[in-house]
């Protein structure tokens, strides 16, 4: 089977790139794994988040901001062009978001960090605000804040989306633009051919001019075959979700988000436990306590599910974008912020891949950065 481009991985990253390529009239084949593969896309919290991102790599703040700016148009396109019967409401909102602070010291530390980031990025707009508790109470009258909540930072460019709907809309979009999406097609062979690349999956050979590796934690092994060093490791994150309740929490926040359905998501954890997706009571308890710290009134909400997912982590936590030197035409895209960056992946990155060259401003995300020994 021939295509212009083969995308390996139909998670939020691979699907966004494939959707962007298909919209640009490229024939795309997307190869996906099995039902119970590690799927960060299915475990996501759903924030489209900018504030505080990239404290030690300002280009990441810029990248996140770029994607957040592209998001409204991307969301309109993705849902707007679908026929009525196939419309998937993304439940996307961009009203800004909160990061709560406990105590004056934390509040001031947060202010200092965001101010420095603002200056480092040369931002020229009001991208954040530090809000006192009284202001939070005014903006969120339905929330009874805990006694330790001093205030919060408010990120103007933050938003949220239903990450599962996003993924479904991307898959539908790929098909609508003539792309092919194949599940249970874990890749068993990959090589460069005379003209492009050959990929073997589920006993079939696929060939294409270009290749995009966006297989999350599976990317490292695939990239090595294409001469690229892509160090990724799993980092477990756990989330609790409550039953549906009447709307009361109008903004997304770090660790608390009420969805359009009414469920409340609470998160999360950062655990180095390898490839283990068990949800544990110990972490569940910590997350529950964190939620009560923000609002003791949450105590009566019922948790219906707790799950764990594996973040696709790089050594410095920032994304990796690279085109192979050895095999030009083979690209890698991995990150743990596939939702925030979806708009960027579906537009700017897809355009670059279609053109065959990554823009220079993405060079901070080249994995070569891991080979340089750190000074000090």
């Amino acid at each position: 089977m021939h295509a212009d481009i083969i995308v390996i991985g139909a998670g939020t990253v691979g699907a966004a790139i494939a959707y962007g390529l298909a919209r640009r009239q490229r024939t795309v084949v997307v190869l996906d794994g099995g039902d119970t593969d590690f799927r960060a896309a299915g475990a996501n919290f759903g924030l489209v988040w900018v504030q505080g991102k990239g404290p030690d790599l300002p280009p990441y703040q810029t990248l996140s901001r770029t994607s957040a700016d592209l998001w409204p148009e991307f969301a309109r396109e993705l849902t707007g062009e679908a026929p009525v019967e196939a419309k998937v409401a993304l439940e996307y909102e961009k009203r800004g978001g909160f990061a709560f602070c406990f105590g004056e010291a934390e509040f001031e530390k947060r202010r200092a960090m965001l101010t420095k980031l603002h200056v480092d990025c040369g931002s020229n707009d009001d991208d954040f605000d530090m809000m006192e508790r009284a202001e939070l109470e005014r903006l969120m009258p339905g929330v009874v804040f805990g006694p330790d909540v001093t205030g919060a930072s408010f990120g103007r460019h933050d938003g949220h989306v239903n990450p599962l709907r996003l993924l479904r809309a991307l898959h539908a979009g790929i098909l609508r633009h003539g792309g092919t999406l194949l599940r249970d097609h874990a890749v068993t062979g990959i090589r460069s051919a005379a003209f492009g690349f050959e990929v073997e999956a589920a006993g079939t050979i696929f060939d294409a001019d270009r290749l995009v590796l966006a297989a999350g934690l599976g990317t490292a092994a695939l990239a090595a075959r294409m001469g690229m060093h892509v160090p990724v490791r799993p980092q477990r994150g756990q989330i609790l979700v409550t039953e549906r309740v009447a709307p009361f929490f109008p903004y997304p926040a770090n660790g608390i988000r009420q969805t359009r359905d009414g469920t409340v998501l609470l998160g999360t954890s950062n655990e180095e436990v390898g490839f283990d997706t068990s949800a544990t009571a110990t972490i569940g308890t910590k997350i529950a306590r964190g939620a009560l710290h923000v609002s003791p009134a949450l105590a009566r909400l019922r948790i219906v599910r707790q799950w764990a997912g594996l973040r696709v982590m790089t050594p410095d936590s920032y994304p990796i974008y690279i085109q192979s030197n050895e095999f030009p035409g083979a690209f890698v895209a991995v990150c743990h912020s596939g939702v925030t960056l979806a708009a960027f992946h579906a537009t700017v990155l897809a355009e670059a891949i279609a053109a065959g060259m990554l823009p220079a401003w993405l060079s901070p995300f080249h994995p070569g950065r891991f080979d340089v020994p750190k000074a000090a």
């Binding site: 339905g142 549906r244 309740v245 009447a246 949450l298 009566r300 019922r302």
Partner: protein, 97 residues
């Protein structure tokens, strides 16, 4: 929809369902009592607001959820009646606080 057999001889308990006093028997569950009412439903579903009544009576269907003494989404088929208990039918999504 259901009626109690006449030979049932158990200690009487009084509770209220949506403000209406209801006599029932020690040892039975709230869901069993609901099923004897004219309106036997326990909740309105959270998506389409359709009425739902106790269905499985063994804790696996979650259609008997109601507000018991102010606590929402209680499985009434696993909740024994108590004197003075206040039951409210749960209308769609409960309030968060």
């Amino acid at each position: 929809m259901f009626r109690k057999l006449p030979d049932s001889t158990m200690k009487a308990v009084t509770l209220s369902i949506d403000g209406v006093r209801v006599e029932c028997a020690q040892g039975e569950t709230v869901a069993a009592v609901l099923l004897r009412q004219q309106e036997c439903w326990a909740r309105l579903s959270t998506v389409s607001q359709a009425p739902r009544a106790p269905y499985c009576m063994m804790g696996v269907c979650f259609d008997c959820l109601a507000i018991v003494d102010g606590v929402a989404s209680v499985q009434t088929c696993l909740t024994a009646v108590r004197d003075g208990m206040i039951i409210e039918r749960q209308r769609g999504r409960p309030e968060a606080a």
